[in-house]
């Protein structure tokens, strides 16, 4: 486990994140231009979708049914457990509890990508590991939005907001960049099929170097952003600090275990675990901001960006991998 951890920590992707944090800590003015940051995320998400769609076209419905079901189940379970813990153990306000829960009910695409890279590295070390399922991006798309809606519904039911228009938010989430690119990419990849994908693969190349290289740049900026939130760690209090580390771990282990149970390979289950453990910081924040205006953004942004994201990247994924191996009885 320790040397798996070392391999993970000495990975350029993880180190790029660390560099970004460092740059922020030394108050460097360095930052990736906003448009470049957006451009890279568009590139990564669209490539992910295209690849996943092409793979999906070769996947029998029967194979994906169970994993998909488990994923949707996680999309309902995780926001509720997160909300319950925050509300009743953490004594958070209704809005704050629901707001943070919405983030943990959704998923962080970058954490997904990091997990994917991680298991691919593991497969190099241990060729006996079955390959990662190609249709994982479909599960990513499926986990993106349900959790947000569940949590916002809870929040809406238990508070009364003049402003809140759940319909508008539903629309906002479903038509968000991430969804358009991921689901759109999946459909395009599915329709045009594997042969067509091969013709553009080297550009997106989600298995390979291009993808990994772009991910480094992206995590560099993620580090800067997370770093700029470190100052808020004091503000969020010890409970959220603990929650941001422990609860993802719980979700991740459950996710990995359910993944194996649903027939995913240990690699696939690890990625599913990372998805369940991850907290959204792109789709969820605006949705929460508009539906639950009195939820404090510092709480949900800090916990998802500055606590849970780094935890998953640094340690979580390795843990979920162990859980998956154990669940698979390896």
């Amino acid at each position: 486990m320790t040397d798996i951890l070392r391999t993970n920590l000495l990975n350029p992707i993880v180190l790029s994140f660390a560099l970004g944090v460092f740059a922020r800590l030394v108050r460097s003015e360095f930052t990736l231009p906003k448009d470049i940051y957006t451009g890279i995320s568009i590139f990564l998400l669209f490539g992910l979708g295209l690849k996943g769609g092409a793979e999906l076209a070769e996947t029998p419905m029967a194979t994906i049914a169970a994993p998909l079901g488990v994923t949707l189940f996680l999309g309902v379970l995780t926001p509720i457990t997160a909300w319950a813990v925050l509300r009743y153990i953490g004594k958070f306000s209704e809005s704050d509890a629901a707001g943070v829960a919405a983030h943990y009910g959704s998923v962080s695409a970058v954490t997904f990508l990091a997990a994917q890279q991680f298991v691919q590295a593991m497969q190099v070390q241990d060729p006996t590991l079955p390959p990662l399922e190609g249709y994982m991006p479909t599960l990513l798309a499926a986990l993106e939005s349900p959790g947000i809606h569940v949590a916002l519904a809870i929040g809406a039911l238990r508070t009364a907001h003049p402003e809140q228009k759940l319909g508008a938010v539903l629309h906002e989430v479903l038509t968000a960049r991430t969804m358009i690119l991921l689901i759109g990419g999946l459909i395009i990849g599915y329709l045009s099929g594997h042969e067509q994908w091969e013709k553009i693969a080297p550009f997106y190349d989600s298995k390979g170097a291009v993808f990994r290289g772009a991910l480094c740049l992206f995590l560099l900026e993620m580090g800067v952003v997370a770093g700029s939130r470190l100052g808020d760690l004091k503000k969020v209090g010890p409970f959220l600090l603990a929650f941001g580390v422990l609860w993802p771990a719980v979700h991740g282990v459950i996710g990995a275990w359910l993944g194996v149970w649903a027939g995913l390979s240990p690699s696939g289950a690890t990625v599913l675990g990372a998805m369940a453990a991850s907290a959204s910081y792109i789709a969820a924040p605006p949705a929460v901001r508009l539906t639950l205006p009195d939820a404090n953004p510092t709480l949900y942004l800090t916990s998802s960006l500055a606590i849970t994201f780094p935890f998953n990247i640094l340690f979580g994924i390795t843990l979920y991998f162990q859980a998956a191996l154990w669940a698979a009885g390896r």
Binding site: E163, V288, R289, D294
Partner: protein, 102 residues
């Protein structure tokens, strides 16, 4: 050349509100608006965006009455929970008709 006095309302808000406020403006009767990105620092930092401090600057030219209505609307709906500030100044325009009846 005769110029007419109108009110220039400037609103600075977090990005998540841009669309909403722009719709509000048109609904309240503004004939148009101009927006651009900015970054800033204020008393609160409550932006719901990955990148903190980024915000949007919205300007609209209206008649005096509507300007007051807009400020009141902003105050009522957004001040409590959002990072928003707004101010009005008097400007001289030509073809005043463009901005609705005085």
């Amino acid at each position: 050349m005769d110029t007419t006095s109108r009110s220039l309302v400037t609103i600075i808000c977090e990005p998540v509100l841009e669309q909403k406020i722009e719709d509000d403006l048109l609904r309240l009767g503004a004939t148009g608006y101009t927006a651009n990105e900015g970054r800033g620092r204020g008393s609160a930092e409550r932006h719901a965006g990955e990148i903190p401090g980024v915000n949007v600057r919205i300007e609209t030219i209206t008649d005096a009455a509507l300007a007051v209505k807009i400020l009141a609307h902003i105050q009522e709906h957004y001040f409590a929970h959002y990072s928003v500030i707004a101010w009005v100044s008097e400007v001289q325009v030509i073809r005043a008709s463009k901005y609705g009846p005085a």
